[in-house]
Symmetry: C2
Subunit: 356 residues, 2 copies
DNA sequence: TGAGAAAATGTAAGCGCTTACATTTCATCC
DNA sequence: GGATGAAATGTAAGCGCTTACATTTTCTCA
């Protein structure tokens, strides 16, 4: 069959990848057989299967993903868009998510939105174009268009790291507001009355918003005015946490407890506290959120909200796979709320005597 | 043109994505024009362009990536395989890499190999099948087959985080061995003679191997026997660093300085030191490698090797883009060696008096 | 005003794969 | 031994896009 050779010469693509046809030729069978051999080995006789695999190996053949997706209308690829890869907040959950997918023969494509809904919208678009069968998203804040895209294409998606009782969307996560409220109540019980918060920018980040509200809820419960609560917004990073902390303590009325929106900010705060000669928690208490590894190694250890990251990732994967397989039909899959707990370490203590 | 409608009815795929043809129909032009509109707007008249974009918007059209790649033989997608996403070691460099790519209209696909060459080989395969135009890899250790794959398909690739003078492969990174030697020399100059190393498993990880060799080099230069050097191998994680540290100090002859293969291990070591009541650096010195954020927030701060992560990422991107564009022809692109420096913080001090 | 060039658009042939359907092969049984 | 059906294999039609080439429209200028 000189046709094949002709094509090669014509296009002049010397060292391009071998195709199904090349394999078929080498093995002396049709392309259909090769394809079956790769996708449904049972439907091919032992003998030919061996020949074909031999040819595959010799040629170093790798099926062209795009062509396969085009023909099969399935990619076995899921996408995940997380706000950042710069720190470990999402790492553990994502790792678990991906492990679970892999066990089911699904590849994960990850991209990060830098906490920008606009960027996220582009990524949704890109992942859909790439044929993602389903998507994992973080939190509820995003552009309406992102949702439109998902819906009009009928792409299964679940929202993690957050749970909303009032929206008809499948999510798997925890109640950020309540979690933070619980922690803030503990702080208040220890006698603190001058709280302050270091939060991520709340715009476009419902987790951050809810956590702040949680603190407010606790204040109200103690009969305090939430409007008095100083809140500094700054992107998640250790150095930003440190800066924000310094700003807080050098302001007129220094708080006795600083609640941070996550562990990364809190780690920055703790480290700056030491540099400023403030003892934690004797002079000032600091709390975090997430319970990532960093919470253990700062000194003192961070009292923080423990989030079941791996559990969340695994369940998200299973849920998404079930949705993709149509196991829920048209009914929306049920959301799953996970429980969080408080991990006590050394950074939260009673209010200093002079402030009591 | 009722053909299109027929197809839809026939296949019954009600809410599948709109195709180029749908857009063309709606805009009353040919598919070619729509395609041009999207890829080479200059070749289309103002008026039609508007109509087409209108149709695109109304339909929420997203070009099918697989089909495009198939037809255009280009994906504008690069791949990166990093050993782990679990901690921040590669995060900053990768972020910079991806930013630089994005500015050039290139999408980045990331996957992680869990430090396993076998897994990495699979990922190379997968990324090639997905049509990655070029690949970023970490370090030189990988299966021969991985290299074969890359070479036979003619996929441009650069190796980062490591530099090898004796292989004809384009790499961009630093001399791990020499960097670690420099640090170890500083340790020795401070009077330490009982060193120990906590390293990542050296098998399949040339960076880890070279760093250990660097310590040995320094010992030799001081006339000491490198064979006496205790080395504990353990995967990068804070808790593993802590465990390894405890093992070292509770062994018969406790070292006066522990050199860690990276900052994550070192952070674990420092935190365990405190738990064990050992003062750093008064009782024992600890050093790291990488200078990631964590190095600043442990107490005392980590004396470590500063690696120019962002610079490495940016240069890797530029190099890879140039290679993809054929700017180097068949000649291998030149490797780039970056310089590292030592960042002094508090964790390295003079040898304790009783050991001097 | 009309010939010729330039610009805009259309036509249709694939890209590499899957899969419905058609055909061949082969074991089975009366 | 030949009809029968199951198993194995082949044939060929797309999947949604790009792009070389053909055709039409528009512009330019003598």
């Amino acid at each position: 069959m000189p046709e094949e050779k002709l094509r090669r010469q014509r296009t002049g693509r010397a060292n391009s990848s071998p195709t199904l046809e090349d394999v078929a030729q080498k093995a002396g069978v049709s392309t259909a057989t090769v394809s079956r051999c790769l996708n449904a080995p049972a439907r091919v006789s032992e003998a030919t299967r061996k020949q074909v695999l031999e040819a595959v190996n010799q040629l170093g053949y790798a099926p062209n993903f795009g062509a396969r997706a085009l023909a099969a209308k399935r990619t076995d690829t899921f996408g995940a868009i997380i706000p950042t890869m710069e720190n470990a907040i999402f790492a553990r959950g994502l790792q678990a998510f991906q492990e679970e997918l892999e066990q089911n023969g699904i590849t994960l494509l990850v991209s990060s939105s830098s906490y920008s809904p606009q960027l996220e919208e582009k990524q949704v678009h890109a992942l859909i174009a790439r044929g993602a069968d389903a998507l994992l998203l973080i939190g509820h804040d995003r552009t309406p268009k992102s949702y439109d895209l998902l819906e009009s294409k009928g792409i299964p998606h679940v929202i993690a790291w957050s749970i909303a009782h009032d929206v008809p969307r499948t999510s798997i996560g925890f109640d950020n507001r309540n979690a933070m409220k619980t922690l803030a109540l503990e702080v208040l019980k220890l006698g603190h009355r001058d709280l302050a918060v270091i939060s991520a920018p709340r715009e476009g980040n419902d987790r951050a918003r809810e956590r702040c509200q949680g603190v407010a809820d606790a204040l109200i419960q103690f009969g305090l005015r939430p409007t008095d609560l100083p809140i500094i917004e700054t992107p998640y990073s250790i150095s930003n946490g440190a800066e924000a902390f310094q700003t807080l303590v050098s302001s007129g009325n220094r708080p006795t407890a600083v609640l941070c929106g996550n562990d990364v900010l809190a780690a920055g705060a703790i480290s700056r506290a030491r540099e400023l000669g403030l003892r934690v928690p004797d002079d000032i208490s600091i709390t975090g959120f997430d319970d990532i590894e960093i919470a253990q190694i700062v000194s003192p250890g961070l009292t923080t909200v423990h989030v079941p990251h791996r559990k969340m990732g695994i369940h998200a994967a299973r849920l998404l796979i079930a949705m993709r397989n149509g196991e829920y039909g048209d009914a929306p899959a049920e959301s799953l709320e996970l429980q969080v707990t408080i991990t006590w370490r050394g950074s939260l203590g009673p209010v200093p005597l002079r402030n009591a």
